[in-house]
Symmetry: C2
Amino acid sequence: MSPPPILPSLAERAASLDAADPLAPLRKRFILAEYCTYLDGNSLGALPAAVAPALSDAIHRQWGTDLIRSWNKHDWWQAPQRVGDTIGRLIGAAPGQTLAGDSTSVQLFNALNAAVRLRPGRRVLVTDPAHFPTDLYIADSVARLHDLDVRLVPARALPAFLADYGDQVAVCAYGPVDFRTGELHDMAVATRAAQAAGTLMLWDLCHVAGAVPVALDDMAVDLAVGCGYKFLSGGPGAPAFLYVAKRHQSAFDPVLTGWNGHARPFDMNAYYTPGEGMERARIGTPAILSLLALEAALTAFDGVDMADVRAKNQSLTGFFLDCADVLLEGQGFECVTPRDPERRGAQTTLRHPEAYGLVQALAEHGVIADMRAPDLMRFGFNALYVSHHDALTAVRVLHDVVTAGEHRHERHRRTGPVT
Amino acid sequence: MSPPPILPSLAERAASLDAADPLAPLRKRFILAEYCTYLDGNSLGALPAAVAPALSDAIHRQWGTDLIRSWNKHDWWQAPQRVGDTIGRLIGAAPGQTLAGDSTSVQLFNALNAAVRLRPGRRVLVTDPAHFPTDLYIADSVARLHDLDVRLVPARALPAFLADYGDQVAVCAYGPVDFRTGELHDMAVATRAAQAAGTLMLWDLCHVAGAVPVALDDMAVDLAVGCGYKFLSGGPGAPAFLYVAKRHQSAFDPVLTGWNGHARPFDMNAYYTPGEGMERARIGTPAILSLLALEAALTAFDGVDMADVRAKNQSLTGFFLDCADVLLEGQGFECVTPRDPERRGAQTTLRHPEAYGLVQALAEHGVIADMRAPDLMRFGFNALYVSHHDALTAVRVLHDVVTAGEHRHERHRRTGPVT
C-alpha cells in the first residue's frame, strides 16, 4: 500500500532528531536483532554487548577454574553491594544504600515487613489500586501477617488521604509510573505528603530505573525496590534491587533473615545477628551468574547522564504520539498516556479493542511491543538504543497493519498467555 | 620428602577402584581445572561442560534475538517447573511437586510459613541445633511472625521428643546431613515420627540432592527445599528448589504471593488467586540465566542411577578415611565423620586445631577443600567427577603439608572470611 502523504515529513523529522541525538552512539553498546524494531524494553531490555564476554569469563575462568575461591578472588561475595551501588548511581542513591539480588516480589516483601516494624502501632498500609499486581498481592500478604488494613488510594489522591488519616498509616507503597498507561506521578509530592504524616514512603522503581532520573536521597525517600530487567537491560528475570535510606538501616529488621545478612556469616552462629548497614538486607546466596550479567549490562550506562536519557525518551514518546496522531487517525486508537512530557514515563500506551491481534501482527513485521489485557498496546522507549526512526517505523507499520486488517487474521486469535 | 612406605599399596587400591568405577566416564561431562583436586563440590559444584553452550544460546539467540518472545518461544515461563521436575527425579519426587527458583533461604521461609498455616493451633516449630545457620535464622523469623516457640532438638532425639510433645508441633525442619560433620541422619525414622505426631516434616536437602538417593514421595515427606549449587553443580548461587507433596498443594497458602504464582498472572488482577498445584509456590520473575545454567548442569545426571552415585561416594569417603588412617596418624587429626558408610553423606570432615592454615596450604598444592570455624576441614566427594585417585592425592598432600609444617607459614594466617 502507498504511504500516506504526511510520511515524508515525519521521516525527515525523525532523521533530524536522530542526527542531533547525543545518545545515538550508545546503540552500539547493544546487540540488536536485525530487522527488529524493539519497543518492549519496558518489559525485557535488549542485550547489552558487554554481557556475553562477562558471562563467558564468569563461567570459564571464575566458576570453572577458580571455583570456590572466586567468592573472594573475584569478589562474588560483594557483588550484591557492588551492583547495588552501581544501580544507586542511576536512582540518586549514595553508596551503601542499594543492594542487588532476588526478585522484586521478594525485596518488596522484605521491605514492607521491615517498614511495618519501623512504624509499630500504625495499622494501615496504603497502596495504589492501579499498582502492578505483585505489589498489591505482596501488600495484602504483609498486611495479613501483621493484621493491618490495606487501603487502596490512587496516587494523585494520596496527599489528601494522608492529610486525613496519615497518623494511622505505617507505609505507602507506590510506583512512579502506571505500568498500563505510562503516566508518571509526582514522586516528590507523594513523598513529602508521607513525610508530613510520619509514614514511610516505599517506591517500586521497576518502570523508572534507567529511564527517569530519580533522586531518592534528595527526596528523602525511605525505601525503594525495582527490577533489573526493564530499562536496566540486565537480562530475563535479572536480580532486583532494594534501597534502604541510611537513616533507617540500623533499625531495619528483616523477616528474610538469610545467612548472607548475618553480621559474621562465616562464624556459622546459631543465632541471627543482623549485619551492619545494608549487609542485613542480604538474604540467601545470590544467583551469581544472573548478578554478573546485570553488572555487565549496567556498563551500558557508563558516562551517561540520566538527564540526557530522560530528555531523549521524552522526545521519543512525544514523537511517537505525534506520528500516531497523523497516521492512526480514525482507526479506533485512543492514547491513554498523558501528552504532557513531564507526566509520562518512557512508555506510550494506545488503547484499541483489537490490541492483541495488532501486537501479534506488528511482531510479524518485526515491530515488538506488548499488550496488557484487555485492550492496551504498550510501546517502551529505551533511550540507549531506540531511535526516532524506530518510533516512526512502529507507527507506520501499525498504520499498514490496521488499514490492511492483518490483525484480524485467524493466526492472530488469542490462544495463550502473553508476557 | 619421600612418601611413606604404605603409599604404593594405596595408589594401587585407588587405581583398581577407579578402573572398576561405572561412573568414571561421567568426569568428561565436567570441565575440571588442570592441576586441581577439587573436593569442595559440597559447597560449589564444578562446571558441567553443558553450561557454557547453553548459556551462550540463552544469551545470543533467546535473549538477544528472540527477546521478549522467548517467554513463550523458549518456554522461559515454564522453566521453574521444568527444572524443578528434573531435580525431582533425583530426590524421589514425581512430577508436579518440585519448583526451581529463588534461594534456599527464601524457599524455606515460604515453606515454613505455609507449614505453620497448614497446622493452625500448633504453637511449636522444631529444628536441629546443628542445622545450617540460615535454617535456624529463618525458623526463628517464622516463629516470631506467627508467635510460635522454637525448640532445638538434635536429629537423633527427634522421635522421642515428638512422642512426648508432638501434638503441639506444627513442623519439624531438619537436614539429612550435618553440614559440619557429614553425618547422615535416618530420614525415614524422623519422617515417620513426624507423621505419627500429625506434624509436618520439612527436609533441607542442600547436602544430599545429587549425592544421596532420597525418596520424598515414598517416605511421604511433606515439604522439602534445597540448593542447586552443591552436588547438583548448577553454578554459584544457582536457584534453589521447593518440594510440596501433592496432597498439601491445594492448601499451600504462601506468604510470598508474587505475581508468577497467580492462577491467571497475565490477567493482572488486583487480587491474588493462587495458581493450581505448584504454580502457587512461584514468587517473582525467576532469574532465567541462572535457571538455564542449572538446567544445563543437570544434564550431567542424564542416565545416571542415584544408587550408583551413592555407592561411589560411599566408596570415595571410605577410601579417603582409610588413607587418612594410615597417612595422617599422629598428626593431630580427628575424624568427626561416622565410619559407618550408611551414616555419612558425601563428605568427610577432619578436625584439626590448625584447620584454617591447612586448607590454605592444601590449596597452594591444588587440593581444594574448605573449612568451617573453628577447626573443621571438609572434603566433599561428587561421584560424577571425583576419583579415588583424587581422594588419595588429597590425603597425600595433606600429609606432606602437615609434616613439613607449611600450614604454619605467615601467609596462611587467617585474615578474612572463608566461604
